[in-house]
């Protein structure tokens, strides 16, 4: 091969590299542009509809008078239940697998199972909840059922992030604490949990942002789409002042409300759907941004 040939060859190769980078960037840009288009489209249709009344009205047959009061209160109640179910269970499971679990068949089985849970379609969680919680345990189509269902659905996210942030803590910390006579639980309780709290918090936020947008399993357990009342208040005037009756109340959540409005033929309801979508999207994006920020901060601050 003569010299000019070789030069030409190298130039062609470099050109191909450059073209590939360009194509890749364009593909990435296409994906991001889709996200942006979605945001802008929703905002253009939905933003004018977002006023005070929209947040404080119940759904209605008349699109202009309909609002999302029962939907956002329902979402809030379900999220509280989900968090109460998933956080203790997920963190405990993560701690066990990372700090306690012996290397044996059962541990392997649990680990393999957690990986596979991520691939199970979310709607089958809904079917399980309908058969188990609604009809077997007689919990009804209630906030409690919904919270448990979503809690189990996002459990793997919390387990995985708990394990990752525990693994990031160097062994010297554990050894130092053991050398001072601490028991295993004391090491976990006083050292590992506080040091990994940033990472665990990130996982919790990601998990809840997933749960907020989940629709399919809740439709399956029979969440109603038209709810014109609020769950019972958790506090009231008589002794014992706190009531848990809201857990048994029927409910609706924002994604279901949005689904309902989207599937109607009338244009005015689509505007309502877009407005609900804006609220939903802002909430999930804000939660994800917070998670990214926390992850960045904790990674920067903690130097072992």
């Amino acid at each position: 091969m003569s010299q000019s040939h070789a030069k030409n060859f190298v130039r062609r190769q470099k050109m191909a590299d450059f073209l590939f980078t360009l194509i890749g960037l364009l593909m990435l840009l296409f994906a991001l542009m889709t996200l942006l288009t979605l945001l802008v489209d929703l905002a253009m249709t939905g933003l004018p509809r977002l006023d005070r009344d929209f947040f404080f009205n119940f759904p209605s047959r008349f699109a202009a008078r309909a609002g999302i009061l029962s939907a956002w209160v329902g979402t809030f109640c379900v999220m509280v239940t989900t968090a109460l179910c998933a956080i203790p269970l997920g963190v405990a499971a993560g701690v066990y697998l990372e700090e306690y679990a012996p290397k044996n068949f059962i541990t392997q089985l649990i680990e393999l199972n957690i990986i596979n849970l991520a691939g199970i379609p979310s709607i089958t969680f809904g079917l399980m909840a309908l058969g188990l919680f609604v009809y077997k345990f007689n919990l009804g189509q209630s906030v409690l059922t919904a919270g448990l269902t979503l809690g189990l659905l996002v459990l793997p996210i919390i387990i995985v992030t708990t394990r990752e942030s525990m693994r990031a803590i160097p062994n010297s910390i554990r050894e130092a604490a053991f050398a001072m006579g601490a028991s295993r639980w004391q090491v976990v309780r006083h050292h590992l949990l506080p040091y990994s709290s940033g990472g665990i918090l990130t996982g919790i936020i990601i998990a809840l942002s997933r749960a907020i947008g989940e629709t399919a399993p809740l439709i399956t357990i029979g969440a109603l789409t038209f709810i014109a009342f609020l769950p019972t208040s958790p506090v009231h005037g008589e002794f014992p002042f706190i009531s848990f009756k809201w857990l048994q109340d029927p409910f609706t959540v924002m994604p279901i409300q949005m689904f309902n409005w989207t599937s109607r033929p009338q244009e005015e309801f689509h505007v309502n759907a877009a407005a609900t979508g804006v609220v939903l999207l802002l909430m999930t994006l804000a939660m994800n941004a917070l998670a990214i920020f926390l992850r960045y901060r904790f990674r920067k601050r903690v130097k072992w």
């Binding site: 593909m27 499971a93 709607i123 028991s183």
Partner: protein, 315 residues
């Protein structure tokens, strides 16, 4: 002084194994460990109860309908007067939407993963990755709205006889939605390939592009398979986008411009109505769910097999 000596005495007592304080502490530790173990094994119980409930509620269905009928009948109309129980239209709808989605997600996911892992500096990657992952954070019902009311009208300008509800736009939106799932696992797999391989290839005069697709990609293939299988699982289990944008009529077709119902869309459609416990409609959603689970499982097992077959171990 007196107080201190007492403390020292009690501390030294702790070192003896049979001291009550020590025994209590030991018991407490065991109880905590047991509780944590229960929490960890809850995930296995979730899987078991999903499988158990789906099978248990499906069994009565097969007392009405023979398995052969279920697998070969070309119509799925369990709620009509003249009921047909052939799962084929729902399975074909599921495969068709999944196929359209993968047609987008696999090339995009692979190229973006290669770009992030091989062609771009770490700083830009750290910036771009979280933004790309926001795509997966958007609620699926919002994607459904977008597919029905934005993408379909847009596509209708290009394909005039596209139906209002169609597989094409649902599949495309779903594909874009699962890009980050595919790309992030694929990128991890590519980055796990040892640096020596790249250096060897580059030293032999290969270009970056050649190195990426002839050295890194084959070496990472086992990990890439998990990325693709996750993409397939996501696409098949996706519910809201197809329920909103693809219509809910079971339709045995391979034409993506037509409406169709997936297994998941059927479950949603039936769940929206009033559903008496134990009715044939109730049983039919469990049969549909079980079918979906079995298909997903088959793909996952297939993926694991490929993964094992092509695993490359480097020391």
């Amino acid at each position: 002084m007196k107080d201190n000596s007492k403390k020292i005495k009690s501390l030294s007592a702790l070192t003896s194994a049979n001291h009550p304080v020590r025994r209590i502490r030991h018991i407490k530790e065991r109880i905590i460990e047991g509780l944590l173990f229960l929490a960890a094994s809850s995930s296995v119980f979730i899987t078991l109860s999903i499988v158990f409930i789906l099978i248990k509620e499906s069994i009565p269905f097969f007392e009405h309908v023979s398995v052969i009928n279920f697998l070969t009948d070309k119509e799925w109309t369990p709620l009509f007067e003249n009921a047909h129980y052939g799962i084929m239209p729902l399975v074909s709808g599921t495969f068709l939407t999944t196929f359209v989605a993968l047609f987008i997600a696999i090339p995009f996911g692979t190229v973006i993963a290669a770009l992030l892992s091989e062609f771009i500096s770490a700083r830009i990657r750290e910036f771009l990755k979280p933004i790309l992952e926001l795509l997966a954070a958007v609620p699926t019902v919002v994607y459904g709205y977008f597919a029905l009311l934005f993408v379909t009208p847009l596509l209708q300008k290009v394909i005039p006889d596209l139906q209002g509800f169609n597989v094409l736009s649902a599949g495309i939106v779903m594909g874009i939605m699962i890009i980050p799932y595919v790309s992030s696992l694929a990128e991890d797999a590519m980055r796990a390939v040892p640096q020596d391989l790249r250096e060897g290839s580059l030293a032999m005069g290969a270009s970056k592009l050649q190195t990426t697709f002839r050295v890194v990609y084959p070496a990472a293939f086992s990990g890439m398979t998990s990325a693709y299988v996750l993409g397939i699982s996501r696409a098949m289990g996706e519910t809201m986008v197809v329920s909103i944008a693809a219509g809910m009529q079971p339709n045995l077709t391979l034409d993506p411009t037509q409406p169709a119902a997936t297994i998941t869309a059927f479950i949603v459609q039936v769940s929206l109505g009033d559903l008496p416990h134990g009715s044939i409609g109730y049983q039919s959603i469990y049969v549909a769910g079980l079918t979906l689970l079995v298909i997903t499982l088959i793909f996952n097992i297939f993926g694991m097999w490929i993964k094992k077959k092509y695993r490359e171990a480097y020391q």
